[in-house]
Amino acid sequence: MALIDPIYTDDSRGVDTELHSLNTTVPVGDARPKHILDPGFDLTLRPMRYPQFFDMYKDAIKNTWTVDEIDFSDDLVDLDRKLMPAEKHLVSRLVAFFATGDSIVANNLVLNLYKHINAPEARMFLSRQLYEEALHVQFYLTLLDNYIPDMAEREAAFAAVENIPSIKAKAEFCFKWMDSVDTLEAITTQEERRRFVMNLICFATCIEGLFFFAAFAYVYFLRSKGLLNGLADGTNWVFRDESCHMNFALEVVETVRKEEPDLFDERMEADIRAMMHDAVDCEHLFAADVLGEGVPGMSLKDTREYLEYVADTRLHLLGYQSEFGSKNPFSFMELQDVQGLSNFFERTVSSYQTGISGDVSFDEDF
């Protein structure tokens, strides 16, 4: 009975007294949280408070893909014959980062985000996101297994977070922001909510929105040269997923902003700007390592500019002005913004939908 949906929750709309009298165990007025960050486990989907999250969930389902669809066979030929040593180094660092990056995101999702975002439709999206993070981990796992035939070398790659300082530094950045909230059982005070929102923004804009976007840039750089198409195909799908994750998190931020505008004060903005600087520096350090052997077409200078440019666009998404004022120096990233056209002789087409509905009929418009 407690699961039955009260029709009206807000006092101002008036409560259906008959229903109210039937429902003795859970007081109707209190059954649903007022704000999305109010502690608890709301189980009620109708009326839906945040239909936008449910739509995002449904869209995510439509974009289901599997690792088995990706053909790595060309990649192995490229690694063997076409990549320059500097590019090989780039790839090994990159894949090592990916192998741990998505796991960290998944952990934060389960341990920190799911607990506090109290709307069942938003939790549906998070559940879907969790599956996607696992899928990404599986993708990079498969990739590493394929790319690195030598067992010892492979083990070293998986232990990148311990052995490679530039990757370790990125992980530490993540852990720092995870640690800031992982002791919170419930977020009730304004200060606790601030910490939570900072974690959410950090993972959306710095980790998924900057670390991952920077990593995608390396992949797309290689793809613009026609290299490692298997990696690029999978990454394309990962990119699409990550875009959705970031949009979701930003939508949560926006919801919180509407519900609790006081949280978003000047201090918050200053903290976010500082965090962005940290993230850009951290990623710059990684770039110096990745590009350390000199990769023609991707200089460290241009990469720094790109990172700053991405950081600025994240700030714009949060409604803030530019911090760095940099321009995008990578024309190959422009390629990622436009619709691709594949033909079957070449690569897998990544734009088909899995969700499809309706019945046979003969008089619809087309």
Binding site: G226, S243, E251, L317, S331, F362
Partner: protein, 886 residues
């Protein structure tokens, strides 16, 4: 000695190759010519290259603008490059700037300095000169969206590299390229002898200025995949122009007498103008030791036995190896649960066999140039049809999936009728009903009904349930193409007679791209070699008042010129299996097609579905068909009709459009300006050399080479990227950019808006409505119109056309309506269903819109201020449009 001088001059044109008008800098050119003569005579490649570069530096320093000079004088970059000989030296900014500036000449809107500074900024210390060259090309190509002429710049820079690569192997002229190819075992004896005997004329025919016809993507494709490479060194041994002439020579060696050279040169001239291109296998293999030049092979279903199935795997592997696309039917293989007499076991049906085929196809690599590809056809009455439709799903049991195979439905009319009536549909095991696949039309219907009455079916399902499943597969995978068995047979020229034993001749399937329809059986593997007219090249080539008209006279001439070349492939072709050779010699089918229909409409300013466009589209196809038939009667006059001519519908006086009706049931009247009566008399008198002449292939790759829109398709987007084995390339609608530039509307905001709208310009208020109408994308043109246009054109296509359909967000209801209409229109086949991803990738270079939250008060307002450094960087980047300076 005199011939050497001639060749030398020709070669020099190639090396320079950059100035069509020679009004300036004559002196410098003479200097270079001197340098290159040295190269040829002494064969010291790197020296001469250095000399050429040096000459350029001196030349261009004099013509540089102040801005350019200031920038290049800005001081050393601290960067070093590694030269070919291993020496490391500081980056010479002047050299880079000058090379780019030279290549930019005559290109309006191109800023060489912008390319140079960006190139240098992306450079890594110690990069090789080759990497530096590649980088400058990619940088130029990255600016195509701002100004389409950067595509030409990138193309010219690439042409220089290709040229260098060839010259550095001491290949100064065409006949030497053939000689090197012959000595390394790639070029055939026949072509070597032919070229050797006619070297002066052939070398003189090369026109390197034609390299300038290429857009960047076209030349890149040619360089990456089409030019012959030395087997060990892996360097290309032919320039793009040598490549076209090699292809032409490969198709001319069988001609008798002195006209052979003349024909080869004319054919070269046609191809290098990009007005017509043969299909990829012909471009790859003509003149080589493996002259497999056919695009398509159609194999009948294997016989229902272990031996039959394994023989098919072998056939397919052999045919696939040399760049042929495969269509194979699977109608005859027994269904799941059928008895295997030999072992008294039960069959697992078709899926495990198709899995094996899947792996086999993926393993065959077409000379490293592309992967093998195949499409499997299945009749809609086959009891395993439901498993078949799941083969491409990305969910479920992967042991029952085939990710490399394409799948297509071979749909009888009776099925569509039952879908309409909402009746039951019976599914049969071919082991119990083996005759169904060899029947069509009324005979099929009565055999099906009688098998149904006898209760031979495995099971029955509501026809709409199966149809709905087919629609779902199309929406989810784009695959499971709808091809229609009865119209394909009833409107096929080859099904006018019976085999010697009285059995009917039947078309059992289409090919990999659903444009070929030919009869098959166990002894006949159908083959087709293709070529496509680039229609945009026929607009505005006429004289005077006709300057913007479609030049039907030229179209007719070219059709008559190229049909003999398509026909000749049949004799020269290498056939990997005897069944293919047998069938092709008997039927001599060819497939002349077209591409760039959209270019014609853009040039004419027609909306794709306007009455003018519809009329022109059908007329073009009628003219092509008319002249192709005419050319085939001429060939028949010389060589006799093809062996099976008497059994064709044409022999009974029926041409393709006689087999079609208009939507209101009337006969189709072909354009009256063509003399069809005389043509019919000629056919009756002389016969035809070719049973089939017209097929419109997808032209994916050759349209790239020609720089035109594919096949009969509307543009998919005003801004998109091509993803290929050689990387990704941005493509912008040049016609649109020119129109918007003319209205002063092509600016960063516009680019950003078009990016946001995924390449659409609908609803951008600044753009005049007429332009919005003309520049709609395939997603925005009603598909009903595309289908109707395809049917109108179809009356002049004796095989079929690769008709893609587009639907942004497909539903079962919309799809089922659409495909019913396609069937009712009399279409023989359809191709991919294109749909779009449900969610979009975040734009990384355009301002985010859509779901991105904005703070109260709207989007962040950027107040632009510039530091001195920024202003400087900005003016270096693009002095003409620098916002900081105005």
């Amino acid at each position: 000695m005199r011939t050497i001088v001639t060749k030398t001059n020709k070669n020099n044109t190639t090396t320079r190759g950059e100035q069509p008008s020679r009004t300036t800098r004559v002196t410098d050119e003479i200097t270079e010519d001197g340098a290159n003569v040295t190269l040829i005579e002494t064969g010291t490649g790197s020296d001469a290259t250095g000399t050429t570069d040096g000459a350029a530096t001196l030349t261009d320093a004099a013509t540089m603008s102040d801005t350019l000079r200031d920038a290049t004088d800005a001081g050393p970059t601290g960067m070093r490059v590694t030269k070919r000989n291993g020496a490391v030296e500081p980056v010479d900014l002047n050299k880079i700037v000058n090379a780019i500036a030279r290549a930019s000449e005559g290109l309006l809107g191109v800023d060489p300095m912008r390319v140079a500074t960006r190139t240098i900024s992306a450079l890594a210390d110690g990069a090789t000169t080759r990497e530096l060259d590649e980088l400058s090309i990619r940088t130029a190509a990255g600016l195509i969206v701002d100004e389409p002429n950067y595509s030409k710049l990138a193309s010219r820079l690439l042409a220089t590299i290709v040229d260098k690569e060839v010259r550095n192997q001491n290949i100064p002229w065409f006949s030497e390229s053939i000689k090197v190819g012959y000595e390394s075992g790639i070029v055939s004896q026949e072509v070597y002898d032919f070229v050797d005997a006619n070297a002066p004329e052939l070398n003189a025919a090369i026109n390197s200025d034609r390299d300038r016809s290429f857009e960047f993507f076209g030349l890149r494709t040619v360089y990456d995949r089409y030019l012959l490479r030395h087997p060990e060194r892996r360097d290309v041994i032919e320039t793009p122009q040598y490549f076209f002439l090699r292809v032409a020579c490969g198709l001319s060696t069988t001609t008798e007498g002195p006209s052979a050279v003349d024909e080869a040169v004319k054919f070269y001239d046609l191809m290098s103008s990009l007005a017509y291109l043969p299909s990829s296998p012909t471009l790859f293999n003509s003149g080589t030791t493996h002259s497999q030049m056919s695009s398509c092979y159609l194999l009948d279903s294997p016989e229902d036995s272990l031996e039959g199935i394994y023989k098919r795997y072998t056939d397919i592997a052999k045919l696939s190896k040399f760049a042929g696309g495969i269509g194979v039917a699977w109608h005859r293989i027994r269904a799941k649960g059928s008895l295997i007499t030999g072992t008294n076991g039960l069959s697992n049906g078709i899926v495990p066999w198709l899995r094996t085929l899947d792996s086999s196809v993926a393993a065959v690599n077409q000379g490293g140039r592309r992967k093998g590809a195949a499409c499997v056809y299945l009749e809609s009455w086959h009891a395993d049809i439901e498993d078949f439709l799941e083969l491409r799903d990305n969910t479920g049991d992967h042991a029952r999936r085939t990710h490399n195979l394409n799948i297509a439905n071979w749909v009888p009319d009776l099925f569509m009728e039952r879908v309409e009536k909402d009746w039951q549909w019976s599914l049969f095991d071919p082991k119990k009903a083996p005759h169904l696949t060899d029947l069509y039309g009324k005979e099929f219907e009565s055999a099906y009904l009688s098998a149904e009455e006898q209760g031979l079916f495995e099971k029955q399902v509501p026809a709409r349930q199966l149809y709905s499943r087919m629609m779902r597969t199309l929406a989810q995978t784009g695959n499971g193409w709808m091809t229609f068995k009865d119209p394909s047979n009833e409107k096929c020229n080859q099904t006018g007679g019976t085999n010697k034993d009285g059995s009917p001749r039947v078309v059992h399937l289409s090919n990999l791209c659903t444009e070929i329809l030919e009869v098959t059986d166990q002894d006949n593997t159908a083959v087709c070699n293709l070529g496509s007219l680039n229609l945009g090249a026929y607009v505005g080539t006429g004289a005077g008042a006709e300057a913007t008209e479609f030049d039907f006279a030229r179209l007719g001439r070219v059709v008559r010129q190229v049909v003999p070349f398509l026909d000749r492939v049949i004799d020269i072709n290498y056939y990997p299996t005897p069944e293919a050779k047998f069938s092709n010699e008997k039927w001599r089918p060819v497939g002349l097609g077209l591409m760039g229909l959209q270019d014609v409409f853009f040039k004419k300013g027609f909306a794709f579905d306007s009455p003018e466009a519809r009329d022109l589209s059908a007329r073009i196809s009628a003219h092509i068909y008319f002249h192709a038939l005419w050319a085939s009667t001429e060939l028949a006059e010389t060589y006799g009709p093809h062996e099976a001519f008497d059994g064709t519908r044409a022999a009974q006086g029926k041409l393709q459009f006689d087999l079609w009706t208009t939507p209101d049931g009337n006969t189709v009247n072909p354009p009256a300006e063509l003399d069809w009566d005389t043509l019919r008399d000629r056919i009756a008198e002389r016969g035809l050399r070719n049973s089939l002449l017209i097929a419109i292939a997808p032209t994916a790759t050759i349209a790239s080479i020609a720089g035109c829109y594919e096949c009969i398709e509307p543009q998919v987007s005003n801004l998109f990227k091509r993803e290929t084995l050689s990387g990704e390339f941005m493509q912008i609608n040049r016609y649109l950019v020119r129109e918007l530039q003319a209205c002063g509307l092509w600016d960063e905001r516009m680019i950003s808006e078009i990016k946001q709208a995924e390449g659409s310009i609908q609803g951008i208020d600044r753009i005049p409505e007429e332009l919005q109408e003309v520049y709609r994308t395939a997603w925005e043109v009603p598909q009903r119109q595309l289908i109707d246009m395809a049917a109108e054109r179809g009356a002049f296509i004796d095989q079929s056309q690769s008709l893609n359909l587009f639907m942004e967000t497909p539903t079962i209801g919309k799809l089922s309506s659409m495909y019913l209409h396609a069937w009712k229109s009399g279409l023989k086949t359809t191709y991919y269903l294109r749909s779009r991803a449900a969610t979009k990738i975040n734009k990384s270079t355009a301002p985010s819109g859509g779901t991105a939250p904005t703070p109260e008060g709207g989007a962040p307002t950027e107040t632009k201020t510039f530091t001195d450094e920024e202003a400087m960087a900005c003016s270096l980047e693009n002095p003409e449009s620098c916002e900081a300076c105005d």
